[in-house]
């Protein structure tokens, strides 16, 4: 029964999510501790900036329990995390859960819009290019996608800002307090994801077009549109969705640069800032949420692939 199988898959993914989340949070903790130098100085720097002094360093050390042994600090965090308490940031003094959640919302809105745009565009491009392999559209696409994949994403972002925020003044240049703030970051992300994703789509279309059904449709004299929607879309989606695993990793990594450019405090940026600032509760909280997100997206992709292509049920999961 598919429903039961899916339930089993979900349970497996939930277990994996908990495991990965704890592992990533632990890694964040280790990263904070492993860095050279005194943790209290890093916290005080993040807190006071240029007003840092030896007294403020001591104050930071006492206020944050850094005088405790490392294993006690870790154990305390795991203990309180179990009861849903992520604690307070050592730098801002604010609730980690609230702050991390706010970052998550920023990242999610940009990621969802960006990935959706990239997905829609990739499928459109994939069909346009892949239906006539080695045709003019296909060749142009290959060149454009190779060029696009060779431009650093921060330059893409700067170009978009220059055109749409400074030139035309249609959209905000930075920040997240204006309506539509996520459009330029999301477009930057979409442009950064587009080359790889559209290549996956294009190759999938090429492969699908050599299958039986589209050929059958063509013999029957069906229109291109009908062939695409009735026969080709579903098998094309399978490899595209299976690609979501690496995609989410690219997204989180790419968003770090985009966050800086657009002055957003997304999840990846939060993780990096807090690890560099030795803000242990915040680093572990951000790590926890990133771990869960990665596993959840992979899980959804896994289930979506199974639903779209039931043949894969009994086969090994794709590597």
């Amino acid at each position: 029964m598919p429903a039961r199988r899916i339930a089993g898959t979900v349970a497996g993914h939930v277990l994996a999510a908990i495991g990965v989340a704890i592992a990533v949070a632990t890694l964040a903790f280790i990263a904070v501790q492993a860095a050279p130098g005194d943790v209290a100085f890093r916290i005080a720097e993040a807190r006071y900036g240029e007003r840092i002094s030896l007294q403020t360093v001591d104050r930071a050390r006492q206020a944050t329990g850094l005088d405790q042994p490392i294993i006690v600090q870790y154990g305390r965090w795991v203990g309180s995390a179990m009861t849903g308490q992520l604690g307070r940031s050592m730098v801002s003094g604010r609730q980690v859960a609230t702050e991390v959640w706010r970052s998550f919302q920023t990242t999610l809105s940009i990621a969802v819009v960006g990935v959706s745009l990239a997905l829609v565009a990739s499928l459109a491009i994939g069909f346009a290019a892949g239906m006539r392999r080695d045709g003019l559209v296909d060749r142009i696409f290959l060149v454009v996608s190779a060029v696009l994949s060779s431009v650093p994403s921060f330059l893409l972002g700067i170009i978009l800002i220059t055109i749409f925020a400074i030139g035309l003044r249609w959209l905000p240049a930075a920040g997240n307090n204006r309506p539509g703030y996520f459009i330029l970051p999301a477009c930057t992300l979409a442009l950064a994801l587009l080359p790889d994703l559209s290549r996956v789509a294009r190759n999938a279309v090429v492969r699908t077009m050599q299958d039986f059904y589209p050929t059958y449709g063509r013999i029957k004299g069906q229109s291109w549109l009908r062939i695409v929607f009735a026969h080709a879309l579903r098998p094309t989606l399978v490899p595209v969705i299976a690609y979501f695993g690496p995609l989410v990793a690219h997204t989180i990594g790419g968003l770090v640069v985009i966050d800086v450019l657009f002055n957003l405090d997304g999840l990846g940026t939060r993780l990096i800032d807090s690890v560099l600032a030795a803000d242990i509760p915040m680093a572990m909280g951000a790590g926890l949420l990133i771990g869960i997100s990665v596993v959840v997206v992979n899980g959804i992709a896994d289930i979506a692939v199974q639903v779209l292509d039931p043949r894969l049920f009994n086969a090994q999961p794709r590597p």
């Binding site: 993040a46 006071y48 104050r59 249609w170 930075a174």
Partner: protein, 518 residues
């Protein structure tokens, strides 16, 4: 099949709709004053936060500094000192309301001052006052000192000396929210974004603009983009290198003032490389200040020839000539001090190479300044290795005793009288805990001059002490000034240019005085 198509259609619609709604709302433009500063509000600790919220006109102090740099009454209507210089009386303004509706009383001020006394950190000046007792006397608060100290009102202008409502504090005395008395109150507050609205019960004049949104952005490029895109009405602290670019957009004008802040290097005076003032003078001569000022900061007037800038009219000596680069003289001074070039061209003395690591922040202009210093010192045989890091790491190397030379961006105008900061940096009691003007540097002459200044009873005594302080600081060079820091405010065409005050001491943004353009 249907769901798949629906998903596809929905995501398309979503994309188009968000794009449309975004540009629509953007074009409509409702009247919120958008202000941007390069500093984020990193924590709720008063040692950090109070500066921000005073600039934003949310929290107020007993005494303030007006945009002209003079002491001015704020929560204290007036103040006076007894003839023996020991007891200072601050008359608290009547009828002042906090943002939670409660009344400001002299008792609240007394408790606040008691808390400031205990803070005991160098970023909180009041803790450095020799206070013996604080008591309430009718509508006044009387501060009694152990010994005469001239700068009491100055010290009460310090950021952490803001007076907050008792409901601002948690049980353990830490700040949980900012409830002040200023013309603006906080609607929503965060690290990079704060929404302000006018406080209807403000004791003074109501602000001209009722709603303000503050953005803290650390990337100078992002700030410039926001200014050019018309998204920022005021950028308070626009990086000097970005000035031309932002003004070039044609929609923004910039006001500029030279601040009390210095970009320079400070040394460990106990290290064999910099224990002799001659060595410090040689280093100073090796630097091409004019080149740096023009190339990196776009302003020839930024080249510093003394510690205190024109922001201190009584202290800045306009007659001093600029310090010109003189590589030969620098080499000669070092040779006289016993430094001889080794086989690799790097100077050495008694087995010590004139080589060290300097920690560099990641801000583009700081990094460029460091690279310029590195290249210029290489020409006199000093090898500087650069390492990415921050001020915390610099301080850590100070506390470990490994620091040889570091970059500093010291603000001598935290309060109007530079002596307040000089006492922190150079007086015997606090030396070592405030390294930004030099590490392990002691000069009894300077210490006695500082003490004379704060205890002076006549104008002549004050002037004599001041001349002594200036003479020592500018010749001993525990901190080597390179360029003065310019404070730029970019003003969009939505805002009345002349209504924007500009404040060399960076005390306040004075946003309550800003008006929209007609």
């Amino acid at each position: 099949m249907i769901t798949r198509r629906a998903v596809l259609a929905a995501s398309l619609v979503l994309g188009v709709a968000t794009a449309a709604s975004g540009s629509f709302a953007w074009a409509k433009g409702d009247r919120v004053l958008e202000i941007v500063s390069p500093r984020e509000i990193t924590s709720l600790d008063l040692g950090d936060t109070s500066y921000h919220f005073r600039r934003l006109r949310v929290a107020e102090t007993l005494v303030t500094i007006d945009p002209e740099g003079k002491l001015a009454p704020e929560l204290a209507e007036s103040w006076s000192v007894s003839d023996d210089g020991l007891s200072w009386t601050f008359v608290i303004r009547d009828g002042v309301k906090f943002h939670d509706g409660s009344l400001l009383t002299p008792e609240i001020v007394r408790v606040a001052i008691e808390a400031m006394r205990k803070a005991n950190t160098n970023s909180e000046l009041v803790s450095k006052l020799p206070i013996a007792d604080v008591r309430v006397d009718g509508q006044a608060v009387v501060v009694t000192l152990e010994r005469p100290f001239n700068l009491v009102p100055d010290f009460f202008t310090d950021g952490p000396a803001v007076i907050l409502a008792p409901s601002s504090f948690a049980q353990d005395g830490t700040v949980k929210q900012i409830i002040g008395t200023g013309p603006y109150r906080i609607k929503i507050g965060g690290k990079t974004s704060v929404d302000l609205e006018a406080f209807p019960d403000y004791w003074g004049e109501q602000p001209h603009i009722a709603r303000v949104h503050f953005t803290g952005a650390t990337s100078p490029d992002t700030i410039a983009n926001m200014a050019e895109a018309g998204q920022a009405d005021l950028v308070l602290g626009l990086s000097q290198v970005l000035r031309d670019r932002v003004e070039g957009s044609g929609r923004v004008r910039v006001k500029q003032v030279q601040t009390a802040r210095i970009n320079g290097v400070f040394v460990n005076a106990a290290d064999a490389r910099f224990d002799d003032p001659v060595e410090r003078r040689a280093l100073s001569l090796a630097l091409d200040r004019q080149g740096i000022a023009v190339a990196l900061f776009g302003n020839p007037k930024a080249a510093a020839n003394q510690l205190l800038s024109v922001a201190f009219p009584g202290w800045h000596d306009a007659s001093l000539p600029p310090i010109r680069r003189n590589v030969e003289e620098a080499r000669r001074l070092l040779a006289e001090a016993g430094w001889k070039p080794g086989s690799d061209g790097i100077l050495a003395k008694d087995g010590t190479r004139f080589a060290f690591t300097m920690i560099v922040g990641k801000q583009p202009e700081v990094a460029s300044l460091a690279e310029a210093i590195q290249a210029q010192l290489a020409e006199i045989g000093i090898e500087v290795k650069l390492q990415n890091g921050n001020q915390g790491q610099v301080l850590e190397s100070v506390s470990k005793g490994t620091l040889v030379l570091g970059m500093t961006r010291r603000n001598y105008g935290a309060v109007p009288d530079p002596v307040a900061t000089l006492i922190l940096d150079f007086a015997e009691a606090s030396a070592g805990s405030s390294p930004w003007s030099g590490v392990n540097y002691h000069n009894p002459k300077l210490e006695s001059a500082l003490n004379a200044y704060i205890a002076a009873r006549t104008k002549e005594e004050t002037a004599a002490a001041r001349d002594q302080i200036l003479a020592v600081v500018n010749s001993d060079l525990p901190v080597i000034p390179v360029v003065w820091y310019d404070y730029n405010v970019s003003i969009s065409d939505r805002v009345n240019f002349d209504s924007v005050p500009i404040d060399a001491l960076e005390v306040s943004f004075w946003i309550d005085r800003v008006r929209w353009a007609e």
